[in-house]
Subunit: 374 residues, 2 copies
Amino acid sequence: MPIPTSARKPRRLHHAVAATIHDVAARAGVSVATVSRVLNGIAVVREETSRDVRAAAKFLRYVPNVAARALSIRRSQTIGIVLPDVHGEFFSEVIRGIDLAARRAGYHILVSGSHSEPGEMLEVVETMRGRVDGLMIMAPDVTLAPIEELRVRELPIVLLNAASGNGDTISIDNFGGARAMMHHLHALGHERIAFVCGPAHNADARERLRGYRHSMRSLPAASVRALEHQGAFTEESGFAAGQKICEAALKPTAVFAANDSMAVGLLAAFAAAGIRVPESMTVVGFDDIPIARYVAPPLTTMRVDIAELGRRAFSLLLDVINNPVAHKTRRERVATTLVVRGTCAGATQGTPKKTQPHRAERIQKSGRKKGELS
Amino acid sequence: MPIPTSARKPRRLHHAVAATIHDVAARAGVSVATVSRVLNGIAVVREETSRDVRAAAKFLRYVPNVAARALSIRRSQTIGIVLPDVHGEFFSEVIRGIDLAARRAGYHILVSGSHSEPGEMLEVVETMRGRVDGLMIMAPDVTLAPIEELRVRELPIVLLNAASGNGDTISIDNFGGARAMMHHLHALGHERIAFVCGPAHNADARERLRGYRHSMRSLPAASVRALEHQGAFTEESGFAAGQKICEAALKPTAVFAANDSMAVGLLAAFAAAGIRVPESMTVVGFDDIPIARYVAPPLTTMRVDIAELGRRAFSLLLDVINNPVAHKTRRERVATTLVVRGTCAGATQGTPKKTQPHRAERIQKSGRKKGELS
DNA sequence: CCGCAGAATGTAAACGTTTACAGGACCGCT
DNA sequence: AGCGGTCCTGTAAACGTTTACATTCTGCGG
């Protein structure tokens, strides 16, 4: 027996059961369609009706059921973030950047971190499908990179700091940053510049190495390869590389570590060996991690604005979501900034700098004009 | 004209449109109910049927629509995390802990960070309602705490490191940790122990101060209040406090900073004033932030296992979700661990320690027996 | 051969939105 | 009066699951 169309099972609503759009409609004496229209500001509704609806919604403390909404419009207003087991500070900063941008755009973020192996990562991606409108995957490890390529092509994805990445990608300007740092060292008179590499599989590490090599080619180089030391982005590996450098017959005048952690390790090794920085050895790093400014002496490095990376990654993803078919794949790079602190000096007997005022530093955006005092 | 019941609009599925449970049912030659049952393992189905269904699902690359599922069962398998604008390392660690636990339990996490003021935080909570099965709110600032109390009582909530918290709460054992540290200092012979406070509004800071004061009462104290210095959990404030201490007529033999950042500031101040640590001054902190082990000398501190905090917070929340009506509010505390490094020495002319092997440290769980070498 | 218990499966009604489509009211013209 | 607009609003069909209830099998004791 068909019941009259607009009738619905009466709601109890004595308490604890959330009000639905029907309750609001009933109380405002309108239809659910109108309520929906008012609340979404989607169509033109008479001012008075609108007021009534809003009042009813407020009275009932109505909050729309997102699941129902998502089901209906097939959008969750949520993006997923998949991260490898990455170092703490980076992790938090990139999320912060994304979160900020996402919130402004009315999106939520679903995060899943600490994935060290491909299988696990894929599994997570799978469980996120349908739950998110788009995905942000961070895959600095080149062995992981190809994997997401193949998969889930129906879902908008942007890759962060990925190695190859045939898809839409955003990454740090590692190559440019490394070259800028080399340029700085060269300007100080250094020519015999050693390099401590990052992990061979890491995309960032590779690009930084490439930048170093590129710059070395234009210098009247000695046996270049002898100046490269393997590292693993850890302090321990930096320390080890530092010891090797100390033993070398012909020491470099400067050492460029592919990241700050290794630079910190270098500093420890040189301190242990009695080599003074920056007087007899220049040390520089990459990333500008928080510790960088608190080691002694404060570390010269290339700053990476991670929060901005996150922000821009989000707007890139948003673009992919809204315009799924692009004529060309999006590629973006975020610039790095040279931060000059206490660990570098000229190559010629090292103009022994006076102790700088607490935490003095000079900053220079890569690709910009000459820097000025901060 | 009513169409036969089980008929449905034919699906195109040439591509890009995700398969639904109906597609799977059709392909396997069963009903949607059966598919649902197989995929959820909810009821007993014939082995053969089950195999067919699974095969069909696999073939179609079927993945259930979570929105529909959530709508149907009124559960999203997602929890929300709301964080204030908190320091980076903490932020990431706590999320990591929660994430790990959540994933094991089949939950997703929706995060929103960087909220400095109550209004904004409330707004976020509002948008999360209905989207999450439970909420984890971190509110170390006492001025924020009362606010969530009043609200959204229908949603399971646990508070992290909250000040008052009439609800279910988990927090760090700040009081116990501070007392343990004081005990350690006392055992070394220190009696004139200064304290650098954290922000007055911060719940953690308050508890640590309370622990300090509690211990000081049992010591033959001098003018106790003169030993307390205001700080703000920042290095700058630690540096400033250090300068004040240097100027004091009757210097303390040890300084206990309410967090590591301030302890680092203290070290810098003492270094600048030529006061040697630990020979003429003992310095200790709280938190064991990553930098702690890399400053010179490495910092003695109370370690807080933040990831564990996150893990336990999650299981607490899960408990609240599954048993909404508890006879009593849940309270939990996570223990802290004493980590002895290079910045503390005995009070009596400071047994000038030899340089320790690289990064030597001694660890002792609070509330356990005597610690042993790590 | 019947009846029946239990197992396996199917049917269709929720779940709470959005939105295409269909009116109804009102107005100004013929 | 009839017509063609505008505006505004209502109706009901999706969206893709889960699940109470109904139905069909299947084997078995009588």
